[in-house]
Each structure stands twice: as structure tokens, then as C-alpha cells.
Symmetry: C2
Amino acid sequence: MTKRIAGPEIERLIQLLARLPGLGPRSARRAALHLIKKKEALLEPLAAAAAEAAARVRVCSVCGNVDTTDPCAICADPRRDGSTIVVVEDVADLWALERAGALSCRYHVLGGTLSPLDGVGPDDLNIAGLVDRVVSAPAERPVSEVIIAVNATVEGQTTAHYLADRLAGTGVRISRLAHGVPVGGELDYLDEGTLAAAISRRSEFG
Amino acid sequence: MTKRIAGPEIERLIQLLARLPGLGPRSARRAALHLIKKKEALLEPLAAAAAEAAARVRVCSVCGNVDTTDPCAICADPRRDGSTIVVVEDVADLWALERAGALSCRYHVLGGTLSPLDGVGPDDLNIAGLVDRVVSAPAERPVSEVIIAVNATVEGQTTAHYLADRLAGTGVRISRLAHGVPVGGELDYLDEGTLAAAISRRSEFG
């Protein structure tokens, strides 16, 4: 990469930081130097936090979320509406929806999208688990709705259609996220598909 | 900041990552999730590397560089030209000059710039150590040149003039980086070619 500047322990830290999304080789060096300068306040706590997270993180056996408990805090929360399952591609999407705070539901993480070209088929995703959660739900706590909240990409929509087919006949309501103009978005920057969707699904004003 | 999404260990990791330069709250969450997904390949090695760096990093008592040895690898390297000392504001600048590869010299890290408004005076910087290195150098290995490689900012240039005054009368040659460094620019952000050119065209101070 570049010539060795500091001791091997520091170089190793830089190399690992450079593999984080959002940090390149140069910003990784800045980050490492920042950590080293704030050894007590930042580097040592980060080492401890990373070690603890590595030791305690696990994948939820119910929904595929990552947390330090299994089932995860969301699946274990009795106040959440278990009759609605929101299907997402990735844990990052689950976190994004939780930040939005629009839902008090359970989730299901697929772990990706169908992508025949990349060799990703239905068995490579956590789809059987989703169907099982719907059909095997206890009669006193049935699953009434599955919201398919995959990305609005070609692969995402292909996956959504496949999921809808798999869930057809179970009696569960199947819905998907609305397409439209992002809140705060400027029309001039939006693609034609989004604008067309926003127009065709317009609602009454006021 | 935002509502709690994952377990406290994961939240702690996110909070610490968000304090790195170049990562905000959102990119810190992405980074944390990336780390968690690559637990064996990235999270555990990062925890170990951070712990080892925290345990072994120290400030060089000669020049103020950070390394895992004291004196640092640069000060301890007998092949380097000890008759030339390059004065920098920060370790990041030292690393930037080393990446440029224009010099085989020793360094001196001031730890900042003179800034009366912020209450930073000569005694707050590693200036006495620099003067001492120049005047106390053994007769068989004298310091013949001090290259003042501070940032091309107002504070940096004020500091450069102060250093030149302090070193006047010691008989050492005092030089500074060639213009070519963009005014207002910081060394750590410059490309290697600009830095190398600025070194090779350094001029007499005053």
C-alpha cells in the first residue's frame, strides 16, 4: 500500500480501519492517529467495546437480526405487535426502519435478495423461516400482515414478487412500501420512475 | 442521539466509532454492522489490534512522534541524516512527509502552533526540546539544518517566525518549505508530488 511509517501494531490498526465502509487508506490513518492521541478516552474503550461486541453478538434465530441476545430485543419485546412482520433485506434496513419509528412490529431479515446471476436462490435467503413464521404462528397470536420492505431495486422487486407468491394462500395480508417523493426531496434530482410513481399514486390534498 | 436499536454493547461500539474523524452517526452504524457481520475477519482482529496499540504506543521522548518504541523508529534509525531536523506541527504531518519519501532526516513534532487567542504559548509547544536538540547536539554529529515544515496557515507561519527567532544565533541553517503548498492548505491533505516538490525547493528563512 504505502511505505511503513509507524510500528507494526499501529500499521495493523490502520489496515483494519481502512477496511471499514466510509474510510479509505488516508482517512484510516487519520482515524488511527486520532485514536492513539486519545488513548484513554477512545482507543482503549474501543478495544474493549469491540472485544465485548465480538464476544456477545449473535444472530437472532427468529428474525435474523443481530443483537447480544437470542431472540433479539425486538422479537422478545411483548409490547410489540407480533401480528405484523416487516421483511427487510438486511439488518441495516431494519435499523433504518427502527430509527424512523413508524412501526411497532416484528421483523424478518432475508439476508440479501434473489440474484440468479450471482447464484443467490431462494434457499440462500431466510425465506423458509419467514413462511414458517406465518403458517406456524399459534392460533391465538396469528400473523395477519407481511410488509415487504425490500429495496426498490430490480433484485428487490424480484424478491418481493417471489415472496408474495410463496405467501399466497396462507391468508396473510401482503403489502409493500409506498413509492413516492422522499420527504425533503427535490423533484429536480429525482429519477423518472420515482416521479411517475408519485404522480400515479397521488392523494387528495389536505 | 437516536433511539436504542441494538444491545448496549453494539450501541457502545457505534458511539465510539462515531467519534472517529470521517465517520458520523450514520456511517458509524454502517461501520459497526460491517464489523459485526465480519466478526472473525474484522471485529475480533480490530479489538486485538486496538488493545495492542493502546498497550504499546508511546510518545518518542526525542522528537514527539508516536510509535511503539521510544526513541521512535525514525530517531533510532542510524541510516537517517541526523544533521537535518524537520519541524512539524503534528504527527499526521510527519506521516505525510514520510509518505512523500522526499527526506531521510529526523523530525521534531511541536504538538500544535502558537495561538495567543486560544492561549497556546511557546511553553505549550515542544519548542524548548527543539532548541535543546540543536544546541546540545554532540560536536561530532551536529545539527546543520532545521526545516520548518509547518502548515501554510497564519498560525503556522507565526510559529515559523517565532522558531526562526529562537534558533537565530545557533548557527544552524533555517529553511522552510517552498511555496507550492497551497495557502491555507494542510500537509496531511496534500498529494505526495506536491509535498516532494515543496521539500526540494525549500528556501532560506527570512
